[in-house]
C-alpha cells in the first residue's frame, strides 16, 4: 500500500507551493520588477587583482599537464591503432 505516502507528499507539496505563492503575491514580490533587475548590482565588491606567477612554477605545472595530455594522446592513438 503506497498511496498514503504519495498522497501525503502531494498534499504537503501542493500546500507549501500554494502558501508560498500566495505569500509572494501578497507581499508584493511581483511588483517593482524594474528595481529587482538591479539587485545583484547593489553591493560593490572589491575586485581582486591577479597575482604574479613564478616562471619555474609555470614550467613545472605546464610540464605536468603536458605529461597528462601526452598519456591521454598516447592511449587514444594506441586504442585507435589496436581497436
Amino acid at each position: 500500500m503506497y498511496f498514503p505516502y504519495f498522497v501525503t507528499y502531494i498534499v504537503v507539496g501542493l500546500l507549501l507551493g500554494l502558501i508560498t505563492f500566495g505569500w509572494a503575491l501578497h507581499s508584493g514580490q511581483f511588483r517593482d520588477q524594474q528595481r529587482a533587475r538591479f539587485l545583484p548590482l547593489v553591493r560593490s565588491e572589491t575586485p581582486a587583482a591577479t597575482s604574479k606567477f613564478g616562471r619555474l612554477e609555470t614550467y613545472v605545472l605546464m610540464g605536468m599537464a603536458c605529461i597528462g595530455l601526452l598519456i591521454s594522446a598516447f592511449t587514444l592513438i594506441y586504442s585507435l591503432l589496436r581497436g
Binding site: Y9, S44, S72
Partner: protein
C-alpha cells in the same frame, strides 16, 4: 572534485580491464561507481553551488548571514557525511538503489544538514532589509526545501533497514527522488548562481526579473512531475508515464525562459564575460544547459528512448548535465567568489583558464564518444544482438572515454592547486574602487544603469 573524478577514472579503467581490481572488494566497479556518483553530487557540485549561495544570499538580501556558526557546523557535518559516504560504500554498505545508495545513518545526517542549511537560509531571508526577493534567493531556498523533502521520501527513511518499498512503487519513488536530485537540487542552485554571477560580471541589470520569476514558478510546476521518464520502459501506470513525458517536453518553457533572460542580459557584453574566469565558466554552463535539456526532452519520448535507454547515451547526457552544466557553474561560482571571499587575488588566471579548456574538451569528448557507444549498444539490443558481440565493439570507445577522463582529472588537480594557493597566497594589493554602485541606482531606471556603468568604468586596479 579530485577524489570524485579519480573514482570515475578508476571505474572507467575497470570497464576496459574488468580484472583490474582483482580480489580487492573495496574497489570493484559495483562500489566504485556509486562512490563516484555520490562524490560528484555531494562532494563537488552541490557544495560548490551552496558555497556560492551562502555568499550571494546575504548580499542580495542586504543583511548578514543569520548564523556564521551554524554555517560552520553545516560545513563540518557535510564533510563528515562525505567521509561516511566513501567509507560505507567502499566497505559494501549500500542500499543498492541508484542515487540513494547511502545507508540510513548517512541518510539521517544528510537530512539534518539540509535542515540546518534551510534554517540558516530562511532566517537570513526573515531578517532581510531588502523587501524584494531576487530570483536567485527563490531558487536557492526552493532547492533546499524541496531536496530536504524529497530526500526523506525517496530514501524511504521510515524504513531504516531496507530504505526501500517493494516492487514498482519503490521504483517510482526512487526515480521521483533521483530525478529531483538534478531537477530540484542541482538545476535551481546552478540557475541561482548564474542569475547572480552573469549580471555582476556583465555589469548590467538582469534583462527581465518578471521573466525570471515566470521561469522559476514554471520550473516548480513542471519539473516536480517528471521522475517517471526514467521508467518509460517499465510497467508503471500509463497516466504517470504520460504526465512525465508531457512535462518533460514542457520543460522547454522554463529552460528557454531562463536562457533567453540570461543571454539577453549578456548580449553585447561577451567581452566582460570572457575577461572574468568565473563568468566564463558560468556562461559556458548555461550553453550546456541548453544542450542537456533539449536532449533530455527528446530522450523522454518513448520512441527515442527505445534506443537510448539503458546504455551509454544516458551516461553522456549525465555528464553534460552534471559536469557540463551544474559542474561548470559550480566552478564558475567558486572562481567568482573565492578571491572576493578571502580578499586575495586568484593565484593564477592562467591555470584557471587552462582548467576551463581541459574540462570543456573533456566533457564534449565524453559526449561524442559515449553517444556513439550508446547508439551502437542501443541499436544492437534493438536488433537482438547478443551482448558478447557488442562489448568488443564498444571497447575502443571505453578506452577513449578513460583517456578523456584523465584530462578531466588533471583539470581537477590543477583547480585544487589554484584554489589552495589562492587561499594561502598573499593578500590583495591595494585596490581602489571609485564610484562604486550604490543604492541610489535602485531608482531602477536605465539612466541609473548608465550612471553606474560610468562609475564602474573608473574602477581601477592599482598594483
Amino acid at each position: 572534485m579530485m577524489m570524485a573524478t579519480f573514482m570515475g577514472l578508476l571505474g572507467a579503467t575497470e570497464l576496459i580491464a574488468p580484472d583490474l581490481s582483482g580480489n580487492l572488494s573495496w574497489i570493484v566497479f559495483g562500489r566504485v561507481r556509486p562512490i563516484h556518483v555520490n562524490l560528484v553530487l555531494f562532494g563537488f557540485v552541490t557544495p560548490g553551488l551552496l558555497g556560492a549561495a551562502f555568499y550571494f544570499l546575504p548580499r542580495l538580501l542586504d543583511t548578514d548571514l543569520y548564523s556564521e556558526g551554524l554555517g560552520r557546523v553545516s560545513v563540518i557535518v557535510w564533510n563528515l557525511i562525505l567521509v561516511c559516504i566513501v567509507l560505507s560504500l567502499a566497505a559494501g554498505y549500500s542500499q543498492g538503489r541508484e542515487y540513494a545508495e547511502m545507508i540510513w545513518p548517512v541518510d539521517m545526517l544528510i537530512v539534518i544538514v539540509f535542515t540546518l542549511i534551510f534554517f540558516n537560509f530562511i532566517m537570513t531571508v526573515a531578517q532581510r532589509r531588502e523587501p524584494l526577493l531576487y530570483v536567485s534567493v527563490w531558487y536557492a531556498c526552493a532547492a533546499i526545501v524541496l531536496t530536504g523533502l524529497t530526500y526523506c521520501l525517496g530514501n524511504v527513511i521510515w524504513r531504516p533497514d531496507s530504505g526501500a518499498l517493494v516492487g514498482i512503487p519503490d521504483a517510482i519513488l526512487l526515480w521521483f527522488y533521483g530525478h529531483n536530485i538534478f531537477g530540484l537540487l542541482l538545476t535551481p542552485l546552478s540557475l541561482g548562481v548564474a542569475y547572480y554571477v552573469i549580471p555582476r560580471v556583465c555589469r548590467s541589470p538582469l534583462y527581465s526579473h518578471t521573466l525570471s520569476l515566470v521561469g522559476f514558478w514554471s520550473l516548480i510546476l513542471v519539473y516536480t512531475h517528471i521522475g517517471t521518464h526514467h521508467l518509460l520502459q517499465v510497467p508503471v501506470p500509463t497516466w504517470l508515464k504520460v504526465i512525465a513525458t508531457v512535462d518533460s517536453v514542457g520543460m522547454v518553457i522554463p529552460v528557454m525562459v531562463v536562457l533567453i533572460n540570461l543571454w539577453y542580459t549578456a548580449k553585447g557584453r561577451l567581452g566582460e564575460i570572457h575577461a572574468d574566469i568565473g563568468g566564463k565558466f558560468v556562461f559556458t554552463g548555461t550553453i550546456l544547459y541548453f544542450f542537456v535539456s533539449i536532449q533530455g526532452s527528446m530522450m523522454a519520448l518513448p520512441q527515442v528512448q527505445r534506443i537510448t535507454h539503458f546504455n551509454n547515451w544516458v551516461i553522456a547526457h549525465s555528464h553534460v548535465g552534471v559536469l557540463g552544466f551544474a559542474g561548470m557553474i559550480a566552478l564558475g561560482g567558486i572562481y567568482y567568489i573565492l578571491p572576493r571571499a578571502v580578499g586575495k587575488p586568484l593565484y593564477s588566471r592562467y591555470l584557471a583558464d587552462f582548467q576551463y579548456w581541459l574540462v570543456l574538451i573533456g566533457v564534449v569528448g565524453f559526449t561524442v564518444v559515449l553517444t556513439i557507444a550508446g547508439l551502437i549498444q542501443g541499436n544492437a539490443w534493438f536488433n537482438g544482438e547478443t551482448i558478447y558481440r557488442v562489448l568488443p565493439e564498444i571497447h575502443m570507445y571505453y578506452i577513449v572515454r578513460a583517456s578523456l577522463g584523465l584530462i578531466i582529472f588533471v583539470a581537477a588537480v590543477l583547480g585544487f592547486y589554484n584554489i589552495v594557493r589562492t587561499i594561502f597566497g598573499r593578500p590583495a594589493e591595494t585596490v581602489v574602487v571609485e564610484g562604486s554602485p550604490t543604492r541610489e541606482l535602485l531608482a531602477g531606471s536605465e539612466s541609473g544603469l548608465a550612471h553606474q556603468e560610468s562609475g564602474l568604468a573608473h574602477q581601477e586596479v592599482a598594483s
